[in-house]
Symmetry: C2
Subunit: 273 residues, 2 copies
């Protein structure tokens, strides 16, 4: 573990500053292509519907330029281009546009995801939604929601139990059939299940608006930004085994630790996931 | 049919002006309760999850005050209070907060729905989203998207066929089992199905971002605002029999008439809906 694990105040401030630079640079590019005539969707995987926009690549290229200028010593793991190996022990984990299906549908549910930290997980994270102008950020020192109308501290909410919980996931068809069955056990016990919010759901959880987000098949860059935000806001994010989730895969995020335990038990109830 | 069916230019402008007054009045009330500490959810139907917020009632009361002042001759059909019978042959159809589940979850997908027209359907409609600051409006003269960043003409888009279509509906569990099966026939043929957008999906359709919205179990006040917006933008809204949809029930909205016909045929394919 490098000395950066301790994250001095100066380093915290520098990394947070650079994270804001990345998110600020992403916004105008994303908005230029969002709902715009310049939008040009490509299919990343033949035969599968995983669109990636020109904006996705333009943003990550811009982010890498900024990192090369400000933090050349750090590694980079991004969705669009090859990993870059730095020397500091810190890695920037970038998803320039998380929620491309939302993006191409015009919904303000996608986000720019940014995280930085050592190998064992992110210390600083951001979820930025350029169209609404919202930025959810989390660090060891603060959890904050920023918006043109003002700033507020982020904090997850307590929840009386599954019967009171609002659950989010992006698609009803979550993961494999066994993962689907596990998810459905939770879905059938909560007060309300909603879909289609992409990474914005994690921001709402950090803001104390919803109680659970459960997903499967995530990549590290899909979860590291949200993970840092939610932990800073008092929530808990693990995989479906209760282990660290920063590498992606099956993820469960909860605002209330007791609710997390209850939902985790349901996910694991038949021993198949 | 009253003379208002012709909608003189002066009357058009007056009704549109009043519709803006209603939407403008709704915004600050809705935002005061959205994601706020003042939010107080009640269950409208015992044993069913149909929350209605205090904001819902405050807004409709305020809207009725404005109508009493500016258009006392018109009827009112609102979600929250008893119908009011006017003398003009025109009815204001109001849903102060459509998408209360989205509202209580913090998602910017709910909207203030306003429509006015004679008995055979709305002439002027609005979908207002106070948090994003978007207003989608449609009249016999114009279809417009308004936002703090500017205004744009709304127009639906052409679609090459079901295989190219983006479909929205609010819940995967749509209507009755037979309605569900009908919906699934369309879902299984389109490029992408997304959920959870409430009335915002109709605005996206009017803006040419998505191609189909299919829902069941709607009330008149759920669809009349969107209906006027989409028709003004060049789209088509009917029930699942291809008949007028302004009374609610099963609704299919499409940006492209040929796509509407193809989806309608699938809905009706087994003769059960």
């Amino acid at each position: 573990m490098p000395e950066t694990a301790l994250l001095s105040s100066a380093l915290h401030d520098e990394l947070l500053h650079v994270a804001h630079l990345l998110a600020d640079a992403a916004r105008p590019i994303a908005l230029q292509y969002f709902r715009g005539a310049g939008q040009d969707i490509e299919n990343k995987l033949d035969g599968d519907f995983d669109p990636v926009t020109v904006a996705d690549r333009l943003i990550e290229r811009k982010m890498r330029e900024i990192l090369a200028q400000h933090r050349p010593q750090d590694s980079i793991l991004g969705e669009e281009f090859a990993a870059y190996e730095g020397t500091s022990g810190l890695t920037w984990v970038l998803d320039p546009i998380d929620g491309t299906r939302g993006f191409i549908s015009g919904t303000p549910t996608w986000g720019v995801l940014i995280a930085v930290g050592p190998e064992n997980g992110p210390l600083i994270g951001m979820i930025d939604q350029p169209f609404t102008g919202e930025r959810f950020l989390g660090t060891p020192k603060q959890a904050q929601w920023q918006h043109p109308s003002g700033e507020r501290a982020l904090g997850t909410r307590r929840c009386g139990g599954l019967q009171d919980a609002i659950l989010f996931t992006t698609f009803p068809e979550i993961g494999t059939p066994l993962e689907q069955a596990a998810f459905n056990r939770v879905r059938d016990r909560v007060k309300l299940t909603r879909y289609g919010m992409d990474c914005y759901a994690y921001g709402l959880l950090a803001a104390g608006q919803v109680d659970l987000v459960i997903e499967a098949g995530l990549n590290a860059y899909d979860i590291q930004g949200p993970l840092a935000v939610i932990e800073a806001a008092g929530g808990i994010v693990t995989d479906w085994q209760g282990e660290p989730a920063h590498k992606g895969g099956q993820v469960i995020a909860a605002g209330d630790p007791a609710l997390h335990a209850a939902a985790l038990a349901l996910l694991q109830a038949d021993g198949t996931v």
